[in-house]
Amino acid sequence: MYFSSRNEPVFAISHLPSSIDDGATGVVMCPPFGWEELCTYRTRRVWADACARAGHPAIRFDLPGTSDSAGTPHDPDRLGAWTQAVSDAASWLREEAGCRRIAAVGIGFGGLLAWLASADGAPIDDLLLWAVPSRGRALIRQTRAAALINIDPNIELDGGIMPSREEVFTHPEDDGLLDMGGRLLSEETVTALSELDLTNLPLSNPERRRVLLYEREGVAADRRLREYFESTGAELEVTSGNAYGGMMQYARYAQVPEAEIARSLQWISEAEEAEWRPERGPGQLTTHVESSQTAEFHHDGVTIRETPLTLDVGSERLFAILTEPVDAPMAEVCAVLFNAGSDRRTGPCRAWVEAARRWASQGIPTVRIDEAAIGDSAGDQQYEDLAEYYDPRIIERTIETLDKLEARGLPGRFVLGGFCAGGYWSLHAALADRRVAGVFAINLPFFYWNWWAVNVLHGRWVYRKRRPDDPLIVAAILATLKRLSRLLPPARKLLLRATRWAPNKLDRALDQLRAQGTEVLLMFRPTEPLFDELLGDGRIAELEQMPNMHVDRIPGQDHTFRPLPLQRHVADALDEGLERVRRAGRTTPPPGQACS
């Protein structure tokens, strides 16, 4: 659903118990920003589900201008908009779910917003804050350092131009700050955050509030926040939160902090059981908040609509968002974008959201979709084994998804796009279904999944982390492989050369794509293993000769193209690719049935 905050549609998901007790405590999950937002998405979903199962209505949402909410990071007063969104989420819970008491759960930056909203009179009573700094400048310093350490700044644009470090990490229009997740904080937001000291923004009625501060592994809760609560008479509890590091991993590896979630439910229940000072304090305002199942907003001067979809595909229930034009005629092609690895449908650096809105404003309906157990799709698959991303059943589901979308009245000619595994699904769906007129694959890992591709080409065994239950022999092999890892790239090249004569399914696949007129855009960073392999055996030059095949070199080393010049490069290449698909559609007859 979407709720309206300052007239901006905010994407939200509510988690409501089957029956809501009178006087139940509602829970607002306040999202962090950027990388931490990506890492904790699954955790916040599980946490909100657990709240609902325990009888507490919960709501989680995307900050205005980020992820699936409307707007951009460049819109004015983001900090004010984010604070208001927290407040409106709390009001929605109080009004729609009848909650008598509201607790806000804030991790990192989310906790800072929970405080700001509370200080501003939001109907929030209790605060659960995990690793929340009292000063915004500490947060900015950590954000800046994380980006500088972890984003590869090596870029070479056309003509051999190498952008400066500042150009890589800041936006030319407003000098913002790039986060490790490839998300931008505008300069206005950075300035506002840098000046922020929570302890200078007192909370009303602190003596009526309950506060639970979670520490981190080896890091105490912020001393100034703790002293503030101690001095103002809030009911304060400080406890360990040792699952923080495990939670803040790339989505595929992120661990849900089960013990901390359980403790939070207990903490909420304790207040309900004791009927802990439930009366409202002065200064807390509940406002009426409009909500709806779709969102309409302007993009590039055109009104577009976003609608969350639930698609029952095979035995799975997949979540997707359709972006479509409202008034403009619908184009002849529908774009479908898949989640990147275990990151949800928003795409690397929010690229899918931005592409969907650009394309919808040109009349092209675009669907961004979560595969099973990723993002908001149902399922509890962990994708611990890389092979799970390349399960043939995903290709079957992809084709069935196209059936469902066509049955909804969307055009029966598709362009599929994905990053890494998502590119693999797109390509293989095109080989199985002639309705797929175009494929965009960014950093495709391999054309065919097999033991060689994964363990040698992809180097999975070298980078696999040791697990506590690994037998000693596995641990010894891993340790040896890690020591030998420096030798791997040259050894791999030798092996590739030695096996170049081997029959390759790739030739047959490329012939088929060419014969059926499928436009293919392959985008690679220079160090991507498959690109290296194709370059090594001279195949890149062959591909570039094919009329339906376009190979784009992403001019930087960062796998998820986080530096801003790379983000712009990828967006432009995708737009050009889409235009080629549209042009091809004007000159070729519509596709027939799926090929055998």
Binding site: A145, P153, G246
Partner: protein
């Protein structure tokens, strides 16, 4: 190399890097990211190193290579301490 400094760095890594093995068993040149240090943890390591050695890493010094190994960290810390 200064063994006291190396020992302090290993202590910081043990506490904050989330390594899959004991930092004391790691070779000075072992890749810390391969040894399990996450991107997020690298920032915690940086902040704790600053506190431990009373230094501040300037932005132009911050990059992935800086935290790639114990030896690289020790070299950077030594340079900052010398410059101070």
């Amino acid at each position: 190399m200064d063994h006291g400094r190396l020992a302090q760095i290993r202590r910081v890594l043990d506490q904050y890097a989330g390594l899959s093995e004991d930092a004391n068993t790691l070779d000075d040149h072992a890749d810390l990211y391969v040894a399990g240090m996450s991107s997020h943890a690298s920032v915690d390591v940086m902040i704790e190193l600053e506190d431990t050695f009373d230094i501040e890493f300037p932005p132009q010094m911050l990059n992935r290579d800086l935290f790639e190994s114990i030896a690289a960290i020790a070299d950077a810390v030594a340079r900052l301490q010398t410059a101070a």
